[in-house]
Symmetry: C2
Subunit: 464 residues, 2 copies
């Protein structure tokens, strides 16, 4: 019945539907009937398929009904309690648990799942602006003084995108210098805050990155929080790591959590279970310490969705906090995974990835033909390195060597893609020519995979 038209008297539909002449509204009346009908279908169609042909005929019919009649409300909805009571509660519980792990007292605060870390970061900037200059919501940016924001030169580009989109302008995002490991230098932040104030600007927002995109570096949150308190700025912590499915899960690992110390002092936190925790994209949350700011920032109280005269506590209608209207049910994947693996399971998952990156680091640190981009053990699972083909190894340092080395990683990656064996990203950073950036995020990877990777790099790059 789903789809291609057909009319109501279509006999094949009437005879295959479980409730004959009843439409889908009536069908939901009796939960018991639904369950027993599901059981019947399960046992009939999914297991007892000794007669394959008839099974396929039945399955085809059932799927069309299933889609149009049963599954649709699960896959697509607004976050009003009446439409999605279970998911609304799942989201509330999970967000509270996440805030507890961050370390906010009693897990108090607010939050929402968003379509990815970039949008979560955008929420943090919007929320900060609303906290300090609520009139911008109604009057626009001209109601505020010239606002400036700060983030590491190594931070994710989504902060810059947010500044462009939200009307701050990318020139008002001030990039902070980092040490040789890619960590923000707190003194540089304070100097730039003082300088901005001297120029008549109002410093409003600082983004600290926990697990930077390229080096996997952790900005010193405590020192940055001190400066934010001193100058009355919003502190956001972007608990991120690069590559599609990474990080944020570090909060879940007792062994590695110390890298995030101070995160409880943040005003807001981006946490991406679709990264280090392995939840399929998209699954990202923005968490806000102070209640009410997120709602205040985004609510528009659309009459057709959020009626005050509903028969339940409308504080469960979380949809008006979002810049979206309908939302994808990202919470369900995360909730299921957490239930299945447990906090301890996530912890093992994360520790496993970090063990593997440690293995890669120790393997190539002293191996001929490799050079690390920065000294010392990486803080996270990003291992950044150059491979030097034999023809380059003995060349004197200088422009010619740099030019040749710059072309090595792109060439090896192209050869990898051509032979279809593996793929690893590269990039330049500042004055450093193209280097490989290997990020371990899949706990199904093995030491044998790491060995295979280095063998491939050497096989394909040896003669360059």
């Amino acid at each position: 019945m789903f789809g291609i038209g057909g009319d109501d008297s279509n006999p094949s539909f009437e005879s295959s539907a479980p409730c004959n002449n009843l439409g889908f509204l009536q069908k939901n009346n009796n939960l018991e009937e639904k369950i027993s009908s599901f059981k019947e279908r399960s046992s009939k169609d999914l297991l007892d398929n000794s007669d394959r042909d008839s099974r396929f005929r039945r399955t085809e019919t059932d799927f069309s009904n299933l889609f149009a009649r049963d599954l649709l409300p699960v896959l697509c909805f607004r976050f009003t309690y009446e439409i999605a009571p279970v998911f609304v509660l799942m989201e509330q519980l999970t967000l509270k648990k996440m805030r507890e792990i961050i370390g906010w007292p009693d897990g108090e605060g607010d939050g929402i799942f968003s379509p990815g870390g970039a949008i979560s970061n955008m929420y943090s900037v919007m929320t900060a602006r609303y906290k300090f200059f609520p009139e911008v919501k109604t009057k626009g940016m001209t109601a505020a003084p010239r606002l400036v924001l700060f983030t590491s030169e190594h931070s994710h580009y989504s902060i810059k995108k947010a500044c462009a989109a939200l009307g701050f302008g990318t020139e008002n995002l001030i990039l902070l210098s980092t040490d040789e490991r890619g960590r923000v230098i707190p003194a540089d932040l304070e100097a730039k805050v003082i300088d901005a104030k001297a120029r008549g600007c109002v410093p409003m927002f600082v983004n600290a990155t926990a697990g930077s995109t390229v080096y996997g570096a952790f900005d010193p949150i405590h020192e940055i929080a001190d400066i934010c308190e001193k100058y009355n700025m919003w502190l956001h912590v972007d608990v991120r790591l690069i590559e599609i499915r990474f990080h944020g899960g570090l909060l879940m690992s007792r062994k590695h959590r110390h890298k995030l110390r101070g995160v409880e002092r943040a005003n807001s936190v981006t946490w991406n279970p679709h990264k280090m925790m392995g939840v399929p994209l998209q699954c990202s949350a923005i968490l806000v310490r102070e209640r009410g700011v997120l709602s205040g920032c985004n609510s528009m109280c659309a009459g057709y969705l959020f009626q005050p005269d509903k028969q339940y506590d409308v504080s469960y209608d979380t949809g008006d906090k979002a810049i979206q209207c309908g939302r994808h049910v990202d919470i369900f994947k995360f909730w299921l995974m957490w239930k299945a693996k447990g906090t301890v399971g996530f912890e093992h998952h994360i520790d496993k990835c970090l063990d593997l990156s440690h293995y890669l680091y120790t393997k190539i640190r002293d191996r001929e033909g490799y050079q690390m981009v920065f000294e010392g053990e990486p803080q996270h699972t990003n291992v950044c390195f150059w491979y030097l083909p034999p023809g380059i190894r003995d060349m004197p340092d200088g422009q010619e060597r740099r030019d040749r080395l710059h072309k090595v990683a792109p060439k090896i990656k192209a050869l990898m893609m051509e032979s279809g064996t593996t793929m690893v990203g590269y990039q330049p950073q500042g004055d450093k020519v193209n280097f490989f950036r290997m990020v371990i995020s899949n706990p199904a990877a093995t030491r044998s995979d790491i060995d295979f990777l280095t063998d491939e790099i050497e096989r394909l790059g040896h003669d360059l």
Copy 2:
């Protein structure tokens, strides 16, 4: 192997994995091997389950491998060509086809799939701003004059959310008056444009709604486009209809497409296949007539993703057009549905919903106890009506009657939820007290469902 730790020598993993001592990187080397391995699994595990117990054991093991080793790259990625070549091409082809249907010459232009209609509308405002005031991207809103935007008082609240978020301020969004059917009055737009200019503001953007949230009304696009051309404003058409899964698909119906005439004159169009076309949420696209503006607006050229020295044509890397980084693969659902149903299938689907709403309208138009919110056949599948319990029917028009009628729809909806039979939305609009707003979007609904709905309303509301 996925998940809870385990180490590489785990014998149960080694023996159940299809490639024994090889890690997942090696496993992908041979496509033929992958296919035959998949076929083998399919025939073994999915069909030949005469021995149920062993089937379940095998299935469990396979799922864990499947997740970590095969499916992950499909579910989560950035839109760079190297990571998602098939989806990138699917998106390009589908967006071109959509632009052809809109009526732009040769399907030229640009576009991107976004996490919902609200975000698509936000893209339209951002893109318009970039077209007229590109310096806002770097310098912020202070680089522009005071900009004003226009939308119907009946339009979706996402335009207002976009104005708040992007730094325009909701007060600079000017609401347009509508006729009794909820359609924008073009003369009111022109008068308000002239007034805004007289106040020193710069009119920049007009949103026309095709299928408004409440009444399902279609703003007169041609007349609005004339005014936009005259005053050099960006015309966006929000091809939307309310409720989770609606509309946008009207473009696909030859019978009803005339309601959208003039849409080809828009500078940008929001098209939500997750609405009228029945694609599960989320699936929304923003389409832009002029090439280059969308990219120019959002690109940041992050070094770690978008290297110019890649070995393929990097114009296929569409990710930098988005405000997101990683994106959900919404295109795949839509592409599959389009392939399966065909354009004709979507057309039938839409016509079916409109037939059903016509049935509801004609049924209650002259029925005792019902009153339509506006006269005449609804333009779309929204049927807006009051149910008047017998005790109210003979009351004289006045405040007391209004007060009582205002409480009827909430009470009936509450009773519906308590008895678990059905649910239909209500809301007030302007000076009209709470009315029911029934929107038909599921083509699996039948006339019998409509009959059931009105019976329920009468059963539950009779004694109010």
